[in-house]
Homo-oligomer: 521 residues x 2
């Protein structure tokens, strides 16, 4: 793969350069969303990672707009990604479970459900303006045929429907397939190698190459594009290619970050070389907080924030975020706007000259006033865990209506969602209800959520009154979608994905025997 990559890059630079100097209309700018997997707020130099090894991302920030208060819609991959592409909270778009109260749910390969046909995804809407859309990397909105990307508006896909956990075998549990468009072309640990011992894999290089090729093709065709670059090297088991293994000061996880940082630099540089940087809006963020329960070899940093992935503390949901659009987004700016991955839906539509669907509630707002004029838009951030609104942020204040890290049962087994961090009455191991008297934090002076504001202060009363009105309004309008993540079945696993016949890689599925998925946290 490496040499092919070098060949392509050489071509771009030497022979193919200048093809696209005739720019497309800026009224339909290209859109690139770079979504990292389990990367934490604190993993970038520009967000305070002590080793400062993300020079390309730091440069991207210096050329664009940094968002220190940007949030995901859920502290877990699948719901977060569903929210990004629909502009709607998981509790609305169905990416949640009702099997237990406030439980995180996602799309392992035994999941029966996936993204509903009733949901309208971003690429489908962009198509009406002539965009060609490609997803590279992890889909995670359901792996059964009707749920796959090309059924929901994407024109192209290179990547996998589920997480690259493994290796599995071919009897109990198949390895996850890798797709090229609508057919599998191999499986992880088989054709697409990840060495579990060394952490070596070429996947990021492959995903980089795919993105450069797609951008190149679209630039040649003068056709606007949407690239959803959903790479997953920072999700356990983390991986990096030979070139990057051992390169960082942070171990394998840091190597993975450096390779992604390098790739971001290559993609941005490619846009510049092709002369389409001024016609391309690029946004970098992550799907949820660093998975700190996985330890330092397999997870990143949430900087000064409390806990991580799976939780509704800041470490679970505040994300690194950088917007880049030379000539349009002022360079080197910091926006105090509260942003959400769901805004990428509405903002992308706005950039393409489209309005979001008006037959449903859209949670994402249009951030173009922020991006282009550094305006501030007042809006709340809701922190859900499954079917429960755990917390809400309004301005600099955050109110927790429910607190939970994980159960005592899990915790006693050594599973710790807040390693090295314990805030009495806050990082609780029982689901604690505070709906009558929420815990309120001031995230400006206390970003780590360590000092609840005393309920006996005037500040508490004033803030609670204000936040309560926001919550009441939210709950009044909330109509939960049909939950998609309730049922599991071994028969639905990736036994015989489309294309398996050609490869001779079809496996026999067991008989269907669905059960209510068990979501322990």
């Amino acid at each position: 793969m490496g040499s092919q990559l070098i060949r392509i890059i050489a071509c771009f630079g030497l022979i193919c350069g200048g093809w696209t100097k005739k720019t497309q209309s800026v009224s339909t700018p290209n859109i690139v969303i770079m979504l990292m997997d389990d990367m934490g707020w604190g993993d970038l130099g520009v967000f305070g990672q002590p080793n400062k090894e993300t020079t390309n991302l730091d440069m991207m920030a210096s050329q664009g707009m940094l968002f220190p208060s940007f949030y995901t819609a859920n502290p877990l991959c699948s719901p977060s990604r569903a929210a990004l592409l629909t502009g709607r909270l998981p509790v609305r778009n169905g990416f949640y479970t009702t099997n237990g109260h406030a439980r995180n749910a996602y799309t392992p390969q035994e999941i029966v459900g996936g993204i509903s046909e009733d949901e309208i995804l971003l690429p489908k809407l962009l198509k009406t303006k002539g965009y060609v859309s490609k997803i590279i990397g992890k889909w995670h909105l359901g792996h059964r045929p009707g749920y796959l990307p090309l059924k929901h508006g994407f024109d192209e896909w290179f990547g996998a429907p589920n997480c690259h956990f493994g290796p599995y075998n071919s009897s109990d549990r198949p390895n996850i397939p890798v797709y090229n468009n609508s057919e599998m072309i191999g499986r992880y640990y088989e054709e697409f190698v990840i060495n579990r011992k060394t952490g070596e894999s070429n996947l990021t290089q492959i995903y980089l190459e795919e993105s450069l090729r797609f951008i190149q093709n679209q630039a040649m065709n003068h056709q606007p594009f949407f690239l959803y670059w959903a790479v997953d090297a920072t999700h356990a088991p983390v991986y990096a290619s030979k070139l990057f293994r051992g390169k960082s000061q942070r171990g394998l996880y840091g190597d993975a970050v450096m390779e992604l940082d390098y790739s971001v630099g290559k993609i941005l540089g490619h846009l510049v070389k092709l002369g389409i940087d001024k016609d391309t809006f690029v946004f970098f963020t992550s799907d949820n907080g660093a998975a700190v329960m996985s330890g330092p070899h397999q997870s990143g940093s949430n900087g000064p924030f409390l806990c991580g992935k799976e939780t509704t503390f800041e470490g679970g949901m505040r994300e690194p975020a950088i917007a880049w659009w030379p000539g349009r987004i002022p360079a080197g700016t910091v926006s105090q706007q509260l942003g959400s991955v769901m805004d990428l839906f509405t903002t992308s539509l706005s950039l393409a000259g489209l309005l979001p669907p008006d037959d449903r509630i859209i949670d994402g707002i249009d951030l173009t006033p922020t991006l282009l004029n550094n305006s501030l838009i007042d809006r709340p951030i809701f922190y859900y865990r499954g079917n429960e609104m755990m917390a809400v942020r309004v301005g600099l204040y955050k109110a927790h209506y429910w607190t939970w890290s994980n159960s005592w049962e899990e915790f006693n087994k050594g599973i710790n969602f807040c390693p090295g961090e314990e805030v009495a009455g806050v990082t609780t191991h029982n689901q604690e209800e505070h709906t009558m008297q929420p815990l309120i934090f001031h995230l400006g002076r206390d970003p780590g959520e360590k000092y609840p504001i005393s309920v006996q202060t005037k500040e508490y009363l004033v803030v609670l009154k204000h936040i309560s009105a926001v919550v009441d309004e939210h709950k009044r309008k909330l109509v939960p979608g049909v939950p998609q993540l309730n049922m599991c079945d071994l028969a639905v696993m990736n036994w015989a994905p489309p294309g398996c016949e050609k490869l001779g890689k079809c496996l026999k599925a067991p008989k269907s025997d669905p059960w209510k998925c068990d979501w322990p946290h």
Copy 2:
């Protein structure tokens, strides 16, 4: 003060500009050390503070060199400052106590001791090269007449000998005096107001004005200068002037940071305006980690690091650090060099063309190869608490030979040096000895010191062997100085500082009745 300040600045810009275009020889560059008080690593935007409110310091970093691994010599003010000015560990220069094992000690106003006559301070050596030295702000190396700055090489002083705790009264305990050179000109809470209710004080503006005036005078005289700008607005009780109160998103502490950031911008801008920026080496850092035990209204952030002031975890001793020297230090660089405040002694001497004294061990190294060529020099960092070497960093590894946060007795009273953070077996409330088998952390992949490396790994054995050699060498050569911080006496307090007669502010001291100071942690 405000209007006077504006008048001076206007003069600099309009009338006085150009006076100093005839630059002095770069062989004796001016030296400005900006030492913050209890400011944490995580308090600067460039080090990851989420609200990103330090635009001047972030700009300074973009024009200079950032040190993510820069350390103080002690997690407490006085010993840290003594180390900076002598280039020697407190255990050598006497700024420690033997009243208890591994106890933090400093210079409250009942302290009998201070900086020894046998120690040679930086300004005294710089004087041999024609430097004029001024300290602005907090001295903290002893307040009895023989210990004051002008007795140890400084030519000028504006500031106070001790912390601005208070208000005190004139019977039990006098308010701390503020000196202009060798005479007091008033006291905190009397002539120099700090409003304890609102946190309002003009002190930072006064310290800024003093620094601008000193720089201006020296530039006019074409005489090299050393300015030690030891401001203390971020030490509890934190304060900010009216202009900055309520300006930050972080409350009063953040307001203080913003005012200091503003002042740094003014000083750097002043050097540029006077045309001496290319002849001036500026270094910004802090004396110890953020005092997180003081809560979010009165303390800052140590970013991703464990605990804070008073401890030998990273949060107690890793400091924000930026070097700035336009045209000499490459702009926008990050150095992975392990640095220490003690290096400012040796480096400043080197810049002035001087060698450190050769009759004693100097712990500070010459960082000019790092500053000018981004070289890396291998050197350990020692973490002391009083008379005990608690930990050592070698490369990316840190070994703890003793662990202690604070005593159970204090902890049970609500004094917490690691609020919201608890790492089992690490943030211990007993002094735990690990000298036979130190706790070892990899600060690259685990900057938060949460995951001790298993003693059963090969990595542990290899690292231990290497670190042990470094520690043995250190201990072999260590000759502790005479401890200066053992004795206290109410009679030595600031009852009648020099100059009190002129002001009619002399107070009567009680009879001398010295006791062994009690250092509880």
